[in-house]
């Protein structure tokens, strides 16, 4: 198994875990809180809102503007 495959499996596992967590929160919202519920709790704080908005903005900046 080469190093590229290991890296790709790692990213793939995280994406799969995200999908499973999302499905779990849809099927069992009382056991696994939906992401929107968690975000609503976190985003009452201005610093959390700014950090999340900046993280979102940077993704667009990095992939669509930066060379």
């Amino acid at each position: 198994m080469n190093s590229r495959l290991v890296t790709e499996i790692g990213f793939g596992a995280i994406v799969a875990a995200a999908v499973l967590l999302w499905l779990g929160s849809r099927l069992y919202p009382k056991k696994i809180p939906p992401l929107t519920t968690v975000l609503a709790g976190l985003m009452r704080k201005r610093s959390a809102r700014i950090a999340l908005v900046l993280a979102w903005w940077w993704v667009g900046w990095h992939f669509f503007v930066q060379n």
């Binding site: 080469n2 190093s3 590229r4 890296t7 790709e8 790692g10 990213f11 995280i14 875990a17 995200a18 967590l21 056991k31 696994i32 809180p33 992401l35 929107t36 519920t37 968690v38 975000l39 609503a40 709790g41 976190l42 985003m43 009452r44 704080k45 201005r46 610093s47 959390a48 809102r49 700014i50 950090a51 999340l52 908005v53 900046l54 993280a55 979102w56 903005w57 940077w58 993704v59 667009g60 900046w61 990095h62 992939f63 669509f64 503007v65 930066q66 060379n67």
Partner: protein
């Protein structure tokens, strides 16, 4: 049965001295400096310093919660932004102006709103946090390995190295930019919803 009304004083105050989001912004700034993107580092450090200044005043009173939510654009904005990608493509001046305008607009909307009294986050909400931290750590490990191998992205690719080739086509760029804009709008809506809950 009606739920009893709760006020700011009813919620427990955080015992943390360090503001975790501000600390995360400083750490991200440092990571950008290390990866050779000082301009990105300045943006994150600048935001962290500004937050330290603006957050000195603490949280807003309960009266603020009654403020009507800001109106956000919807599908029209997503289509307009996707069209910019379709017509001009990425790494162009129109794309630069679009992404900067969206980012500045979102930051201004959120910066104008003060912090509200904290509410407890569900315990299992930590699963989402663990997922985000796992992604950051795996990206960091990939980056360190890539640098140790002399910057060989073929053998030790970061997430950027894996995603970048997929964005060669303008139709994919338009789709991706539309999804990115929709995610940003969803984030602003979640923030607006958080403000409406007392």
């Amino acid at each position: 049965m009606a739920t009893p009304e709760r006020h700011a004083a009813d919620y427990p105050r955080s015992r943390l001295v360090v503001d975790l989001p501000v600390a995360a912004l400083f750490l991200t700034s440092l990571a950008h400096w290390i990866r050779g993107a000082p301009a990105d580092g300045v943006v994150f450090a600048g935001a962290a310093v500004l937050l330290l200044v603006t957050e000195r005043h603490g949280t807003a009173s309960d009266a603020f919660v009654a403020t009507p939510p800001a109106r956000l654009p919807g599908a029209s904005l997503i289509v307009a932004v996707a069209l910019v990608a379709l017509v001009f493509g990425r790494q162009t001046v129109p794309m630069f102006l679009t992404v900067v305008a969206l980012g500045v607009g979102a930051l201004v909307v959120e910066w104008r709103e003060p912090s509200l009294p904290a509410r407890p986050v569900p315990r299992r909400g930590r699963l989402w946090a663990a997922l985000a931290i796992s992604w950051c750590l795996w990206e960091l490990v990939s980056f360190v390995y890539e640098q140790a191998a002399g910057g060989l992205s073929l053998t030790h690719p970061t997430m950027s190295d894996l995603v970048d080739p997929m964005l060669a086509n303008r139709a994919v760029q338009a789709l991706a930019l539309g999804v990115w804009t929709a995610a940003g709008l969803a984030l602003l809506r979640a923030a607006s919803a958080a403000r409406r809950v007392a």
